[in-house]
Symmetry: C2
Subunit: 433 residues, 2 copies
């Protein structure tokens, strides 16, 4: 797929599209398929355009235009629209005129509206890919997170290098401000006090661990199985002079030991797999002191469904966004009590729009790093994810919990909202930009 594809990452062979598509004037069959596709888009103002200029849908309106460049692509599209649109777009065999975001949002709403819940399918898929082993987890994480730190630094915020949902308490916040606000929001929810100990499961490039140490004076032990990220995090902690407070461990969350005042995990649960939730709960239960509490921040669902197949194959192998019901497997058997759940869905939509805008500004650099297909695949992935959050087919849950029956917990959430607007200068962690 790309020149610098990391070793060991899965090439999505089965979804690969043919290189030399056949095309010619659109036939009666082509037009019939076109009109069938348009019927499925009846609730949208998306216009479908064939390679010879034939149009389907609400033609008069100024909606986004999906241009299919060849017959084979059209056939693929009617058979598996959800995966093939992404594949064909990546290969340059489908183009979107007008707003890619708008088109994908309307598409996501249509798909979500027509989704039939199939609980048995979900249970089945838990068996096959819902319980990744440590080895499989390593391969999955390597595929996505070891694409190169330089690549992510192009378009993530340059304060905390956060590859997770930001928090926009104020509409006009920049991505940097919103990521600082997110990290502060999590710390407030955990009522961290100086000198306490925190274990972080899945720490990315270490931005949040460093934030906690610098701004809340806590000791952090942060786990991650991405080698590239851990190396980066260690260097960063040294630069910020908090290496004595933060220890980065290149290991699986399953190997967390010792006891801590707080457990936190931002954007890791999506990779754990529902079959492993009970085990994760048991790891958390064992890692908390009696007054311990925790926060899990994860993409989720209102009702169970596997992640879009293209994303799962091409972008995030093994990823699964759980419902709150499925997340209960973490808390119920382990004697943990849920104190607070916040759904930040629209904040992730805004985060993704901000990432996409920056990404698009750096596409030439990305093209030099990888290739045109990679550029298009990631554009589609970022825009499609934003669309899914806007359409409500995915959620973002922050769940705060403590040991069941522990009473030294805040009576009110008011302190989380005490100082507002947030003093951004106070929160900054980068010594040098």
């Amino acid at each position: 797929m790309n020149k610098n594809h990391p070793p060991g990452a899965q090439e999505p062979v089965r979804l690969r599209v043919a290189k030399r598509p056949y095309r010619g004037k659109a036939t009666f069959l082509d037009r019939w398929i076109g009109s069938e596709l348009a019927k499925r888009l009846a609730h949208t103002n998306i216009v479908l355009v064939l390679w010879d200029g034939a149009e389907f849908g609400r033609i008069g309106e100024q909606g986004p235009r999906v241009k299919v460049q060849d017959r084979a692509g059209l056939f693929r599209l009617i058979l598996h629209p959800q995966t093939q649109l992404a594949e064909l777009y990546t290969a340059g065999r489908v183009d979107i005129e007008g707003s890619l975001l708008d088109m994908l949002e309307q598409g996501a709403r249509t798909i979500y509206r027509n989704l039939t819940p199939r609980p048995w399918l979900n249970r089945l898929s838990r068996l096959s890919w819902g319980t990744p082993s440590e080895r499989r987890s390593r391969r999955n994480i390597h595929h996505h997170y070891d694409l190169g730190n330089d690549f992510y630094r192009l378009w993530l915020d340059n304060e905390g290098l956060q590859y997770t949902c930001a928090y926009y308490p104020h509409e006009e916040f920049t991505l940097e401000q919103a990521q600082l606000a997110k990290m502060d929001h999590v710390c407030r929810k955990l009522w961290l006090r100086p000198g306490e100990s925190v274990v972080e499961a899945g720490c990315g490039w270490g931005g949040f661990a460093i934030f906690m140490a610098k701004r809340y004076g806590v000791n952090v032990r942060a786990f991650n199985i991405s080698h590239e990220q851990v190396s980066y995090a260690r260097e960063w902690a040294k630069r910020e002079k908090v290496a004595d407070l933060v220890e980065f461990v290149e290991d699986d969350y399953r190997n967390i030991n010792n006891r801590y005042d707080a457990f936190v995990s931002i954007g890791m649960l999506e990779h754990v797999g529902p079959g492993n939730y009970e085990q994760l709960g048991s790891v958390i239960g064992k890692s908390l002191k009696s007054g311990g509490r925790g926060l899990i921040h994860s993409i989720g669902r209102d009702r169970p469904a596997p992640l879009n197949r293209w994303i799962r194959k091409r972008i995030f192998p093994g990823a699964y966004p759980p419902t709150l019901r499925e997340m209960s497997d973490i808390f119920e058997p382990s004697g943990l009590s849920v104190l607070d759940v916040e759904n930040l869905r629209l904040h992730y939509a805004q985060t993704l729009r901000d990432w996409l805008a920056r990404y698009e500004r750096h596409e030439d650099t990305v093209r030099d790093m990888f290739d045109e297909e990679f550029v298009r695949a990631w554009r589609f992935y970022l825009a499609g994810s934003a669309a899914s959050f806007v359409a409500g087919s995915v959620q973002l849950f922050q769940v705060v919990f403590a040991r069941s029956g522990w009473n030294k917990i805040p009576m009110s959430r008011a302190p989380v909202y005490a100082k507002d607007p947030i003093d951004q200068e106070r929160l900054r962690i980068r010594s040098v930009k």
Copy 2:
């Protein structure tokens, strides 16, 4: 059980204790049972005392003393401690010296610690009493809520007459202040705007419906199947001059019709039964306009377990506190998205302590209304419930939800905490005390 027992209410025949217990000097067997009971209380400082003065447990310490007055009582206690302690206390065959609250809290912690989760038992019990019909619901509600308005007015707050968990954002709040704060907290979470329409399922004596109308200028349609409560609510609304804004309907939640901007239910879900949750969700889904949202406030659990058998038989027939997992049956199939969950467990502990203190001040009046057994049963029920919330064996969940994919929702919960301290004078709804 009591002189003025409401017609139709179930007499808990099976749990009735013998009237003429046999007693005499404690034998070897009595003492062996006493020491066995004390073993179960090893984590507490509760002392067990037999009728002849024999003591078991940590005798030197100043813990609460449970005095068993006769042999038959002792035998009952070892066989079914959780139900028989309440029964024997009610009958005056067990007395508690020292703090009843302290004794029950320690007991609740012990029970909760030793509780073995039995999911099959829970599933089985859902079949038998987890799906009450409309007729059964009427009987259950009549048993508890139609004991007479005068009885509840003795010890509930005299602002909103709220028989549900209050909210204490400030420790020093009185019960009245905390109930006003609770009602305001719920309205803020629902971001009610003047002129909007609200449907309330299970409205008690109408205090919250009147509050919403007076303080938030909304139109309320409030459902309740307790005849006594509805009559009271209608009179009250007239007195407060909001009869044009609030309509009280003596009917089951299953018969809610029309569409509203908000759905709210405070303290009704406990009586719905998990087998009816999906139907409740469907009623909510149909009752909400496209921009509609809702809040459910209910006692819950960290892990599934039936309510204490004595409470279920004697106090609250048909009641069941669900886990968040079980509550998913309301939201998932009905296309509702959970936005916010808050656990107010410790607030219910405080509410119950406040109720108990007032109740104890009015025990002579209660004795005149009913009899000594009733006085003792309700004292035990209020203290035992406070103890369960302190021990963490029950929770109080407020769940806010909206239609899945609806985006005109607040980005932040900050407005819920915007004005603090709450202007209590502004919130008062009683024209005349």
